[in-house]
Symmetry: C3
Subunit: 346 residues, 3 copies
Amino acid sequence: MWAEQVGRKPVPVQLLGEHIVLVREKDEIFALHDRCPHRGVPLSLGRRQYEGTISCPYHGWTYRLDSGEMCAALTDGPESPINNKVSVSTYPVAQRLGLVWVYVGDGDPPPVERDIPDELVDNEFTMGGRWDIREGNWRFAAENGFDEGHAKYLHNTALWRLFKVMPAWNKTRIVEKDGWLIRVQDEVHWEADFPGLGTWTNKRWWKRMPLPDAPGKSADINPVIKSLEIPGFVSIRLPGLLRVAYPHFIHYEWYVPVDEERVRYVQIMVRFESGVRASAFKAKYLAAIRWLFHGQFTGQDAWMVDVMDAPPEKLYRPDLSLTAWRRHIESERPTVQVDRTPGAKR
Amino acid sequence: MWAEQVGRKPVPVQLLGEHIVLVREKDEIFALHDRCPHRGVPLSLGRRQYEGTISCPYHGWTYRLDSGEMCAALTDGPESPINNKVSVSTYPVAQRLGLVWVYVGDGDPPPVERDIPDELVDNEFTMGGRWDIREGNWRFAAENGFDEGHAKYLHNTALWRLFKVMPAWNKTRIVEKDGWLIRVQDEVHWEADFPGLGTWTNKRWWKRMPLPDAPGKSADINPVIKSLEIPGFVSIRLPGLLRVAYPHFIHYEWYVPVDEERVRYVQIMVRFESGVRASAFKAKYLAAIRWLFHGQFTGQDAWMVDVMDAPPEKLYRPDLSLTAWRRHIESERPTVQVDRTPGAKR
Amino acid sequence: MWAEQVGRKPVPVQLLGEHIVLVREKDEIFALHDRCPHRGVPLSLGRRQYEGTISCPYHGWTYRLDSGEMCAALTDGPESPINNKVSVSTYPVAQRLGLVWVYVGDGDPPPVERDIPDELVDNEFTMGGRWDIREGNWRFAAENGFDEGHAKYLHNTALWRLFKVMPAWNKTRIVEKDGWLIRVQDEVHWEADFPGLGTWTNKRWWKRMPLPDAPGKSADINPVIKSLEIPGFVSIRLPGLLRVAYPHFIHYEWYVPVDEERVRYVQIMVRFESGVRASAFKAKYLAAIRWLFHGQFTGQDAWMVDVMDAPPEKLYRPDLSLTAWRRHIESERPTVQVDRTPGAKR
């Protein structure tokens, strides 16, 4: 979620099945396991009574935000034998891109930059974004993001594409570059005749012909985006990050599992500009992109992820995007697994 | 459902646990398994883009309505290797009595007339009707329909019976004739004295004495109904069809399982007349019968079917109607069974 | 529930997982198992047609309220072979304190006075009260009632305590007297300094210093309460009855299991007075105590009982109140157990 949405008042969130409470103390945000070990009351219902701590609302067990250590069981006095004997798990937290990043894995956390595209670390940019909790498993959401086939059909009713043609069908290859899987188009077809049915095309007299299928092929291109030398329009990488590169801006989306049934879907639109052009983009984002693209367009994806029911499945040629992504996950993270035993966190 | 309720727009229905999509193309109605085999999206969310087909909304896999064959994966072009290699199940559909009839069994479908009473095939008539999805298993609904005991008690508060007395208790026999089980009354008692309690009767000073317990005993009777020579008021037959014969009209109800918990309850009221008398009946149906009989009266049955909780059960003498019906089912369809494995259809 | 809430119209209630119907006939209240053995319809939906009986709405099986005997299957006539051959369980019922008391155990019921404090049997008093169905298991509710630790923290925001200080922490002993477990305070601390955190106290400049921790230590005390010689503020006893004794009134609460997930929570406030002072108390109860104490204050307890999630649990020193109570239950009723098989009642 946005860092500015976390204040002194505790905020409960669920990530990868874990119940976590987020709280802010001055500029810092802390994340703790959202369960008082005494009797299981959520700490997110608690009080912020003493600086740098949170207290369970039931008996006033008071935890340090930085260590999770229970430093005072208020209702048993300063000499309570249990003081400093109990603790709750804490989670490493970072703030980047205006978002809160929480590490829920075991062991030392990797640098948060591992989950953020390099171009957002090294360059100046302006951005707009939104996040939603959506129905469906995160893997369906990620597969839908990188799916070669559906955009041409599902999204041909999207307002975002009202003035731009989309292809009728492509021949596609998946390329790996800089840790990303990228969909590269070998053939792009703008219309197709199906004998006995009729013509299939997204062309309409009022629609402009589309963007090149890779931003690098565009004559007019932002220099930062040009320097990325991305050979295709859409890329994906672990842990579940999609990149859709236009000549002048890039759309990113993160698929963060809430639990098996829901995904926290974070979208940002980035423009590598500053000054007046950055301000103009911010205005355009709020006026149009936010609801046209990050709302109605990706809302069509959310609809499919929600109603999808697989396996069983029968794949077709464009689904090489899905199988490449599945192979990639298996080779990079062969043993990803979540222990769902209640209270099993560490 | 009514045939006129199915148009070009796909309609999802559930029958015997199967998810089915109904669509109309001109005068014909088609039924397909409501699941695209690609990724499991319901076809009932799809588009009607090309004549005689339906397309999955996700990737545009397009199916022929008549054969279920996937004739075009639009987003993979005309030469897609998967074209014509995939299909969804189709279900035989008929239109009779203004209703849609779908065969969900295996093998060749029997003639739909097997599920429609002969008198509705051979004669001219006029009718009114309604259907509802009701809570409860279809067997409870059917047993309630043929149940000898309850009407006298449960329905003695029904407005439909406000001006007609019902018996206090009967002695009953079950007779089989023309494939129907029929409740035949050997004794009809209009009142009863229960020592220590008082009198039990449905008689009131403002109520007319009732109809004969079999329509054939009535002096003034419609010739078609007379020709049926039904020896009792209420009959039942497989696959779950009840007939309540009055001297001038007949009420039918079908119990169609939605799933284990719900039943599609179809009621029609038939009068074997034409011309002015038919029109008068239509008007009377809409003005009164529809809400008095097909609404409040059978709504009392729906209430009981919903709250009933058996087994265990303790049966009494009038329940010979239930046990005769249960024996009849076992002897006629000894192996009726539904495979509820997800996606197990064919 | 209140006896005056039960009239001729049947009232369904659930107690210890059993479904029971309550009905009144003149001054007497009867309790029967709420399921007609014929087809499982709840008798609480039935009719009160003949004196001293209730009839199932479906087929008119009619049961004597006093014995549960089915004396007439109305719709099978006075000679029905099943008359007097079937019965439903009945439950002993008493009316005390304006409440209905139902015994759902097996065997002969103990005197209802066993579940009512002696002081309410032997003395004149006036009272106000309320009951609610609350979320959570009854054991959590009872443990919360006798819990030494939480009041000082959870309730320090309660309006009921707006003008009275509560301790910061205590040293406590559990004493058994007259069948009650009683929390006795060995030390009472009004404030505490926690190094590095700050001061913890409920003292405010506008708050009066609190009542003595045991009513008997008060100079001005009601003679009946004085005679009880209760050595502490809060007591508990089986089957789930809490007593909070103030110098001039006593609050009682009963935890009656509805099922595993819900508890019927009955609260009364008693004053051993009569005449004008009793009337004044009644008015004060309705104007203030009912919503301040029996509403907002104990509503905070209901909140915790609802969100609590244990085991696992980690206990601290004040939880000796919980462990004493758990040991007490085990020693008094070592084999309490409910058969939850549907229809298993007797």
